[in-house]
């Protein structure tokens, strides 16, 4: 596997005496061969490899390190354009989050794909896609430590029952920007969302997976309980 070799090579240049150790640490993202099969689920919309073109979805050559929504000549959704203007780039963490639950990372994305719930499937398909990116060794997340998975929310976080009254108080802070009546000119609407989507989106900001400094800051100081309280309130704020 080309990718694994590159990482191992880079490490052994820096740490020539720790060859064995470097081998252990250079964990591949996943099994690229298996990933080629997982990619069958994407093929209806995406092409990758020599001569790949935009179809229903954009081609995926060089997607690692690419600006989200970054191909000229592909008509991306408004949500993807927003992520793009916020400066989002496709690194391992974000690709993983997007493939797990496309809408949780990019609300209103046109990729109508349920998501890959099995982490091994995502690892493998990403290992496969990485083979089609120019210089994967230059992407910081190629470091072995990149295996850490950020979107994972423990089930108890998703199951927290929100305190609606507290959520209403907390929501007053949001309403300086997000309108109660759900208008979305300039700033998106956050009313009447399914609770789980809301919780995941807020955690994606909190963990800085979603770009946007205002929302990263707002979510950054909310506890799991507070996010649940907000989700419970905004589900039906009227």
């Amino acid at each position: 596997m080309r990718l694994l070799k590159l990482i191992t090579l880079a490490l052994s240049l820096v740490l020539p005496v720790a060859g064995a150790w470097a081998d252990e640490e250079a964990v591949p993202i996943g099994d690229a061969e298996r990933g080629a099969k997982v990619f069958n689920q994407c093929k209806g919309c995406h092409q990758v490899g020599a001569g790949a073109e935009n179809r229903i979805g954009p081609h995926l050559n060089g997607v690692f390190g690419r600006h989200a929504g970054g191909l000229d000549g592909f008509a991306y959704s408004k949500g993807m354009q927003r992520a793009a203007s916020d400066g989002m780039e496709w690194d391992l963490r974000r690709l993983d989050a997007y493939l797990e639950n496309p809408r949780a990372l990019v609300s209103g994305t046109r990729m109508s794909f349920r998501g890959l719930k099995n982490p091994a499937d995502r690892d493998d398909v990403l290992a496969y896609l990485r083979g089609f990116s120019d210089s994967p060794q230059n992407i910081p997340e190629a470091a072995p430590t990149a295996q850490h998975r950020e979107v994972d929310l423990p089930p108890d976080v998703l199951e927290l029952v929100g305190d609606t009254a507290y959520g209403e108080y907390l929501s007053s802070e949001c309403k300086t920007c997000h309108q109660q009546d759900g208008s979305d000119a300039g700033i998106p609407s956050i009313t009447h969302w399914p609770e789980e989507d809301f919780v995941v989106a807020m955690h994606a900001y909190k963990q800085k997976l979603r770009p946007h400094p205002v929302m990263q800051m707002m979510a950054g100081r909310l506890s799991d309980e507070e996010i649940a309280a907000l989700a419970a309130y905004f589900k039906d704020p009227d």
Binding site: R82, A84, S85, D86, G87, D163, A165, Y166, Y169, L170, S172, E173, K175, T176, C177, H178, Q179, Q180, D181, S183, D184, A185, G186, I187, P213, V214, Q216, M217, M218, G220, R221, S223, E225, E226, A229
Partner: protein
Amino acid sequence: MRLNRRRFIGTGVAASATLAAPMVMGQARPRVIVVGGGAGGATAARYIAKDSQGAVDVTLVEPTRTYYTCFFSNLYIGGFRELGSIAHSYGTLASEYGVNVVHDWVVGVDRDAKTVALAGGGALPYDRLVLSPGIDFVDGAVPGWDVSAQNAMPHAYKGGSQTELLKAQIEAMPEGGTYVMVAPPNPFRCPPGPYERISMVAHKLKAENPTAKIIIADPKANFSKQGLFEEGWQKHYSGMITRIGPDFGGENVTVDPAAMTVDIDGEIVKADVCNVIPAQKAGRICEIAGITEGNWAPVDGHTMQSRVDENIHVLGDATNQGDMPKSGFSANSQAKVAATAVRAALTGSRAFPAKFSNTCWSLINAEDGVKVGATYEATDEKIVKVDGFISQTGEDADLRRATYQESLGWYSGITSDMFG
């Protein structure tokens, strides 16, 4: 009685009604008077009325029938907004939320009797008083200028007619004329405000009077979003704007409104428009109420209660609270904390920990928006900053356009949060 500093941490802790309720027992509905229908006052009135669902009698006293926001008034000067789009009235607060809106000035506060006196005569009793009167100017701050000179040399630092006047004066400038701004010392309302104004004036002059010059006499060494503004001025308005900081005598300024001259450290400048933004202090009613220390009214950030009188909450620009900038966003944020505290005290409703935030957008040129923001929390000593961010120099046009679009969303958001 000591200041009421009950605080509740986390969720699910109900405020104990018994602590506060005796104050108003036996009386039909506790009364709240809100003085000033701006960013702080309108928000507080709306939230107290809305969330108490009629249990609290809310009266808002505000002299003007139409509130012109200062926020986006610079965009009006730059030609990006119509005046009508920054005008708001109090009809919905009255009809939808049951707020009694009284158009009058409050001219006195009797803290022992707990009444306020109206300019039109009569007194109104309160159980809690909320003061959000904004700013007034420090007398003698710019030698030669006082409010009687505000038609010759407008401040345009309170909304409405002053803003219109300044815009009309800019339009009447002779070709190649000179616009002078006398910038204020810290602390003042809207730290990026003067510099956003400079950007908007430059934008307008570049299109209508491109040989005109802009001079800023500034007593401050540094100002808000300085790097971003200076980058933008260089990029869009190269050669038009000269800023004279304190190192070149920018703090040593006198004006002569009759002659339309400005003396900057001994050098006399003939101005076609002179925009004097003097040093500021809390709206005069705070001083009259006897709750100021120095120029501002000190408050406890947990509840926004005056440190001098626990029955009075002070909001917005008039306060000395700690780290928050004086902005409409801050005043709106503080109003919600105060509203929760007022209801908890008067009706025993749940109280929650104070959380604050602020974001200030500025427009540098068409679709070239930048922002700065932070979150805050209350400590016993003051309101302290928790976390913050600021736009970066060199951002691409897409991001700047998105930032501007966001500011439009925020304007609709905050004004519907204030006025319903």
